[in-house]
Amino acid sequence: MFRGVMESAKEFKKVVDTISTLLDEICFEVDEEGIKASAMDPSHVALVSLEIPRLAFEEYEADSHDIGIDLEAFKKVMNRAKAKDRLILELDEEKNKLNVIFENTGKRKFSLALLDISASSVKVPEIEYPNVIMIKGDAFKEALKDADLFSDYVILKADEDKFVIHAKGDLNENEAIFEKDSSAIISLEVKEEAKSAFNLDYLMDMVKGVSSGDIIKIYLGNDMPLKLEYSIAGVNLTFLLAPRIEG
């Protein structure tokens, strides 16, 4: 059995919206401690990982299950969430469906047919990154929007004094500079100067769920995938993005 209740369906909708920009389907690995899931995007340029500890739920009860979800369908259902709806997710083992229930003045129930996909063998690798930057989510998001004006990729640079987001088009360019002591930077731990380029389209997809007040943790190194972490309503999201090679 699996049943979880969340206070805000709207907040969870952000999670689904974000991961469905990169994935078509995902397998929720459910157990007593919570939900885990990870998958590579179809182009194999990005990896998405999600962890929902049981503490994120108001109520939680579960055995071990693999729940294969069609994210296109799930996203459509979550679009129906209202501002004050609570969200109930429960597994109907008899019919092999996931019930998605919005509870407010009444209950609205949707049943999603489950996909037969096994738990992903893809996990976020244990990589030692030399540099970790914690930055305010809306500041990072705005810098990416600026970069989008002129380029389809962005260069991220970090040294011990600052974190820079740089975009260079054929004729125009733009730069957002965050000094170590700027209000947007929560912390800047740089052991090795780094500079890498990343596809902007994927980055924008990854930060879609970020709200003002959220904090993003960025792991950056030379010739290494970018790692991004942030949370939405207790749901921990981790993304990996392969670099773009300059030359």
Partner: protein
Amino acid sequence: MLWRDVCEIFNKIEKTTKRLEKRDYFIKLIDMVKEKGKPEDLKKICYMAIGRVYPEYDERELGIGEKLLINAVTSIGIKKDELLEKIKETGDIGLAIEQLKSKIKQASLFFQPLTVDEVYETLKRVGEIEGEGSQKKKLRLISSLFLRASPIECRYLARLILEDMRIGMNVPTILDALSVYFNVPKEKLEKIYAITNDIGLLAEKLLMGDLESEELKLKLFRPIKPMLAQLTPSIEEALLEMGRAQFETKYDGARVQIHKDGNKVKIYSRRLEDVTNALPEIVEAVKNINVDKLIVEGECVAIDKQTGKPRPFQDILRRFRRKYDIGKMMKEINLRVYLFDILYKDGVSFIDEEFEKRRKVLEEIVGYENDWRTERKRIEKELKSDKIIDISYKLVTNDAKEAREFYNWSLSIGHEGVMIKNLKAPYTPGSRVRTMYKFKPTLESLDVVITKAKRGMGKRKDWYGSFEICVRDEEGNLYPIGHVGTGLTEADLEFLKEEIDKIIIRDLGEEVEVEPKIVIEVAYEEIQKSDKYPCGYALRFPRVVRFRFDKGVNEINTIEDVERIYEIQRGRK
């Protein structure tokens, strides 16, 4: 099975122009699959070798197109202007991407080499994506393949995506390779292929040692290649060979194959295209046939209600090519299908049964025989009727004089001549058999393809005025057999100008060389021996009878046909 290994052999196949060498390299590929892969890999590789992802009987297309392909590779770092320049330079998107592969700048998180499975399944998935955000999803799936592909792998990926492999492989060559490798007579494989119309499935079953598989047998909604008739020089000669035979009116219409399962009906053209939507009134009439599962063959004829005579063949083809406004066309044309053979009924295949029995089963279904000798009055009365499903008019005889009367009668009601069928013959899919003849008043017209067009002069100065026409050999090579300029209206010339300008390969000044895509039917006064053309023959006074939109270049007449008609012609003098 790695995509890289397949591409290396595709490259060798592409580099040679010799058909036997292409076959031999494909044999190496089969052996490689046997060693390294699984039967399903061979199935996929056979489709890919001929530029397909789906089996031949399946009409679906990937629908990716050049624009999306270009966007996919430019999204991962190749500059668009560099790509367009390289495409112009090489004339092939695959070669262009291969040469620019080093410009791809996006890294991948996935470091395993591409497998045949991954290429195949990814492209199938792309073909199925639709709805909101589908372009972006398609683009990412396509780019995922190029990110991981080596330069040569990129070349064949691009061509496969555009469903045009350009290595010169075709079904006959694959059948040859399978025949040699598995030591099975090619005729046997050709027969099975004609039933399945699925070269990949056949290859897979051979590798599994399962040539008796039910999947290789007749199946509803998987159309099979039609049995084809030989031309006979005379009724007497045919009767001498067959003894007693069944004569049928040879209709001036379009051949159709009809599949029925309860209320589901599908109709296929002689090229096995799905023309169901173009023939709604036939579909409704077939639904009323009181048999649950059925595969039958017939000729679809457009009938003039005033005269009861057939309207021109083109009126049917206009319908087949039409995708909209069917209702309007239904008012203009009255269609009738003359059923003439049955292949399958309620779980039983009839293709190995004698024709006499097949005909009896068909007559039981229709409810009458249309025996010309005994039912002639009713038949003539019904020529002008609204009947939609009928059965071919028949005469069973060994008397040449009586057969001649039936022949003249068939011509008098506006049809082409007669079919002459051996009552003991099984149905042989895809073959031109000596158990079924056609007899027509004139020398058989020839289906040829246009390969060059000469600019017009005088009244025709705004169009092309004359056209080099070719027949083919068994290997698919084309041979000029004449030039034709007569039989064309101004509307035809206008149409040809437009169509030819789309397929020009080279501009030679006074004339242009074109891709062999426009098939026409030509009549002529006679075939002459000629050293002017490498094939050894020339057509005297060729005249265009009609455009054959229903045929592709692999269906035009062969040099062998020309030789046969030449001998018939000599026999008449």
